[in-house]
C-alpha cells in the first residue's frame, strides 16, 4: 500500500548501530584511505602519517606515464560494457527458463551451469587459448570477454530473484496476452532492478580488474585492459613502491568508485508486492 515514500522510524538503526556501522566502514575503507593518503604524498610519507606532509600529484604523473592508460581506459570500458551486456542478456534468458519453466532435464542443466562456479577460469587458460586461436580471436577484446559471456553467477543470482517475483504479476501479464519474452522483459526485468544493479556493479568491478586471462590472450595495446597497465607497478623485484601503486590504483579505480556512488541510488525499495493485495 501507500508506504514507500514516507515512513516513520520504527525498527530502524539506532545511534549504536550508526556508530558500529561507521566503525566497520572505517575499517573496511582503510585500504582505500591508505591508498588516498599515499598516492597524494611523497614516498617518504607512505608509512608515516603526518598532518603536515606535503601534497603532490607526482605519483599520478609517474603512473600515468608508465603505460598508455588512455587507450587502456577505452579498451576496458568497451570490454566491460560488452561483457556486462552479454552476461545480462544470456543470464536473464537462462535464469527465466530455470525459474519459471518446468521441463525435463532442468535440474541437470542447472547443475551443469553451476559447475562453472567451481571451475576456476585460470585452469582453463591453455584450452581456452587454443579455442581462441582456432577462432582467430587472439589479441582481441572479444577474446577477453567471450569465456565470460555465459555467467553461472548471473544465471544463479537472477534465477533466485525471478523465483521471488510474485506469481500474480506473471499471471497478470500472461492474461494480458504478453508472450514469455514480453513478460520477461516488461515484468521480471524491471522488478529485479536492484539485483541487476548489484550484479552490474560486481561484474563491472570484476572485469575491470580481471588480469591474468586478458594478459595472456592479448598482445597489443589496442586490446589490453587497464590492469595490464597497472601490473607494471606490482613488480616486487625492487620492493613495493606503494606511492605509485596506490596512485595507479586510484587512477584506475576512480571511475568504478564514482560509478558506485551514482548507482547505489538504484537500491531503492522496489518492492514487488505494491499492487498486490
Amino acid at each position: 500500500m501507500n508506504a514507500a515514500t514516507q515512513r516513520l522510524a520504527f525498527n530502524e538503526p539506532t545511534w549504536i548501530d550508526t556508530i558500529a556501522a561507521w566503525l566497520l566502514a572505517l575499517l573496511w575503507i582503510l585500504p582505500l584511505a591508505y591508498a588516498v593518503w599515499t598516492a597524494f604524498h611523497p614516498a617518504e610519507y607512505s608509512t608515516r602519517f603526518a598532518l603536515a606532509a606535503p601534497l603532490t600529484l607526482d605519483n599520478f604523473r609517474r603512473a600515468w606515464e608508465a603505460a598508455p592508460f588512455a587507450r587502456y581506459f577505452l579498451n576496458t570500458t568497451l570490454l566491460v560494457a560488452m561483457v556486462l551486456a552479454a552476461q545480462l542478456v544470456l543470464g536473464t534468458l537462462a535464469a527465466y527458463a530455470f525459474a519459471r519453466y518446468e521441463f525435463k532435464g532442468r535440474n541437470v542443466a542447472f547443475a551443469l551451469v553451476l559447475v562453472q562456479l567451481m571451475v576456476m577460469p585460470d585452469i582453463l587458460l591453455v584450452e581456452n587459448y587454443k579455442t581462441m586461436a582456432r577462432l582467430g580471436l587472439v589479441d582481441t577484446l572479444v577474446a577477453i570477454g567471450l569465456p565470460y559471456f555465459a555467467s553461472a553467477f548471473a544465471i544463479f543470482l537472477l534465477r533466485q530473484t525471478f523465483m521471488g517475483i510474485p506469481k500474480e504479476l506473471d499471471e497478470a501479464a500472461r492474461v494480458e496476452g504478453a508472450s514469455a519474452m514480453q513478460t520477461l522483459w516488461r515484468v521480471y526485468v524491471p522488478l529485479a532492478r536492484p539485483v541487476y544493479t548489484a550484479f552490474a556493479l560486481v561484474s563491472i568491478s570484476f572485469h575491470w580488474n580481471n588480469f591474468l586471462w586478458p594478459l595472456i590472450i592479448t598482445n597489443s595495446v589496442n586490446a589490453r585492459p587497464l590492469t595490464v597497465g597497472l601490473q607494471v607497478f606490482s613488480s616486487v623485484d625492487q620492493g613495493v613502491d606503494w606511492s605509485v601503486i596506490t596512485a595507479a590504483t586510484l587512477m584506475t579505480s576512480a571511475p568504478l568508485l564514482i560509478a558506485f556512488l551514482l548507482f547505489q541510488r538504484q537500491f531503492v525499495q522496489s518492492f514487488m508486492r505494491a499492487g498486490i493485495k
Partner: protein
Amino acid sequence: MSSIALIDIAKSWGDSTALHAVNLQIEPGSFCVLLGPSGCGKSTTLRILAGLESATAGRVLIDGRDVTTLPPAQRGIAMVFQNYALFPHLSVADNITFGLSVRKVPAAETALRLRNAADLLGLGALLERRPGQLSGGQQQRVALGRALVAQARVCLMDEPLSNLDAQLRQDMRRELRELQRQLGLTVVYVTHDQAEAMSMADQVVLLHQGRVEQAGMPRDLYARPATTFSARFIGTPPMNLVALESGRIAGSDADTGMQAATLGVRPEAIVLDPQGMPAEVQSVEYLGADLVIACRIGSQTVLVRTDGRHHAESGDQVGLRWALEDAHGFDAVGKRIH
C-alpha cells in the same frame, strides 16, 4: 460473443480438493455471476477458465473450442484479479494499457481507451501514480481498468468492486452492465455481494464446497432456492429456516400447515401483525432503511425485516404473519419439496 463451458472440472492440491466435477454452461454475451461462501472455489474456477491453473480433470471450452491446455494469452480473455496483481513498477496509465501495448494496439486507440477507462473509473488525476501510491479502492479500480480496456470477448472478474464504496460500486455496476451489453461481452463475475449478483446476473451459479449447488436466473434462486443452503445463502438477512415438528414450529404450538422438515421464510416476507403468530422480540438491529428484528417462537429464532422507522425493543410481544406462497418447505437433507 463467446460461449463458455466447463465440463467435469476438478481441481485438487495434494489432499485438498477445491473443485469436484464442476459443470457449467455460459451463454454467449451473458453475464454469469459466481456466488458462494469464502473458499468454495470461485477464484479457482475463474483461474482454470483463464488458464492460470490447470484442472486436475475435465475440459474447458470457449466457443466450443477445447482450450483446456491453451495458455491464457490464447484464450482471448481479460481478467480482474481478486488481489489486483498490478505491476508495481508501472504507472497507473501503463498498468491499464499494459495489454494494449503488448498487443501493439496503435497509440491513438490506446490513448482513447485509456481516457475512457480513466474517466469511467475516476482515475483521471492518478494516471501518473504508481500502484504503491494509491488507496486500496483506487488500486482495485486500476485492476478493473486494465481488464476493461482489453475489450476481450470474455471477461473474468474476481470480486472487482469489493473495496469500493457503495456509491461508486453502484455506478460501476451500472457501467459494467452497460458495457457488457454494448460490447456483447461474456462476463464471469465473482462476488459476495448479493445485490450485485441479483442486479447484474443473467445467470447465478451458486458454488458450495467445490460443487455447483444451484444455477439459474437470479429471481429463481431467490424465489425458489433448491436447498436450504441456497435458501440461507441468498438474501440478507438470510431466509429463516425453522425446524418443524409435524407441521408445528419446534417448541411451540404454532401450526404452519406444512409437511416438511424445515420451513423457510424470508425476513422481508414476514409482516408484523398483532393477529399473527405470537412471538417475542429478542434483539433489534438498525440498518438505516430497515430494522431487523429477531423474534423467538418456541425454540426457534425468526428474523423479521421491517421499516427502519419502526421502533421495537427487546422483550416486546409481537405477532408475525406471512403469505402461504412465501413459505418454502425442505426435507430432512435440505432439499426443496415445495
